[in-house]
Amino acid sequence: MSFDPQILAAYLPELWKGLRVTLWLFLAIMGLCTPIALAIALARISGRPWLAWAAATYVNVIRSIPLLVILFFTFYGLPVAGIYVSPFTAAMIGLTVCTSAYLAEDLRAGLMAIPRGQYEAAAAMGLPPGRFVARVLIPQALPVMCAPYFTRAIVSLKATSIASMVAVGELTSESMAALTETYRAAEFLGFAAVSYLVISSLLALLQAAVQRAVRLP
């Protein structure tokens, strides 16, 4: 099997466009998922039965449905309900809905690692819940949350490839289009694989830096 760099170079503009779409999709998902997942995780540990029940139901329902089904639902189902969005937006909504359920559980595990004594000290001091979350709970949970958060981010990055199934011209989609035209699998799938590897590696480096920054003294 030969590797032809020239054919890869010829398709580089399309591949680069696909890579940019992948990056935007990934950043949009994580940007939306992080606050949503944190809110769900806090709701689950809030001690308010209805809030905890609603959050648990969301997590249990969403994580029981395959990502592809959710993506098809947002792509084909939303227009049925009279909501017309671009394929990119449909994919972004579907991936956000799905990833936020998983990420909520990752973050909840971090929050639950904080000893009960911290909650009791804050209660005895009369700290308002918002201040307790911002000043005590999250700073202490961050070091615990860091590894699962970045692992989830890497999983989400790779999950963006499923957006190719709903007509989003992202990296996998553009690589497959080039492959279909040229029958050169090694060049285009290789490019896609190396691109995912590079971004994942950058995320791993970012994880190490963040872990150092949020480490408790």
Binding site: P115, G117, Q118, E120, A121, A123, A124, M125, G126, L127, P128, R131, R135, V136, P139, Q140, L216, P217
Partner: protein, 261 residues
């Protein structure tokens, strides 16, 4: 009104029929207690006697059963019907009561100074500079001003507990609760914490101290309460309770406790 009544210090803590159950198990069986301002009460008793639960009910870390009444300086704490409890009101009420825990429970992500400043900042008890100055004065009072910038992990157990006392004092509470505050400390670190508590008692702070330190209970306490099975079995001045206990259970407990002292 008689002269004796006029001279009596005002009541700081009043418990009326305080009951607490966990499921079917009744752990506090209707406690009635009145603590005058400035009194230091030592709560002693075996593990499981209900003394820590009693302490934790006073600031509603444990919610008492309906019908219980808790008053600090005449003000109701929590609600006699927990279903009508406003959390905002409870947070305000809790600032009147300082609590120190067995395992310190300092916030490990904050320095000693930040730990002490946290509650006054949250309740906007002055400008940041004023609050920091007051916090430094409190750290000075517990002998830790030079450790203000240290994190809890950089302090010994005794130092952490002294910071925890300073933190509990930061809101200028009317009543201080101490829950076995020396039990988790190495023996050589116990004295430094007891010294701070002794000074606090001498300054006239009203204190309820759950303790296994019998010497402290006897020397510093104005009053010793012995609890067993969720009820107050003996209540009197330290000499009475510790030297001439009336109940057999108190005698058995004290003979064991004083032997291991």
């Amino acid at each position: 009104m008689s002269d004796a009544t006029l001279q009596q210090p005002p009541t700081m803590l009043e418990l009326i029929g305080l009951r607490k159950s966990y499921g079917q198990k009744l752990v506090l069986k209707g406690i009635d207690l009145r603590v005058p301002k400035g009194q230091v009460v030592s709560l002693i008793g075996s593990s499981g006697s209900g003394k820590s639960t009693l302490l934790r009910c006073i600031n509603y870390l444990e919610t008492p059963d309906a019908g219980s009444a808790i008053k600090v300086d005449g003000q109701q704490i929590g609600s006699d019907d927990p279903r009508n409890l406003s959390m905002r009101a409870l947070r305000r009420q809790r600032t009147e009561i300082g609590m120190v825990f067995q395992h310190f429970n300092l916030f490990p992500n904050m320095t000693a100074l930040d730990n002490v400043c946290e509650a006054p900042l949250a309740h906007r008890r002055g400008s940041k500079a004023e609050i920091q100055a007051q916090a430094m004065a409190l750290l000075e009072r517990v002998g830790l001003a030079e450790r203000a910038g240290h994190y809890p992990s950089q302090l010994s157990g005794g130092q952490q507990q002294r910071v925890a006392i300073a933190r509990a004092l930061a809101m200028k509470p009317k009543l201080m609760l101490f829950d076995e505050v020396t039990s988790a400390l190495d023996p050589e670190l116990v004295d430094e914490v007891l010294k701070v508590m002794r000074a606090l008692a001498e300054d006239g702070m009203t204190m309820i101290v759950v303790t296994h330190e019998m010497a402290f209970a006897e020397d510093v306490g104005d009053r010793v309460i012995f609890m067993a099975d969720g009820a107050i079995l003996e209540d009197g001045n330290p000499a009475e309770v510790m030297r001439a206990p009336k109940a057999e259970r108190t005698r058995t407990f004290l003979s064991r406790a004083l032997r291991t002292r």
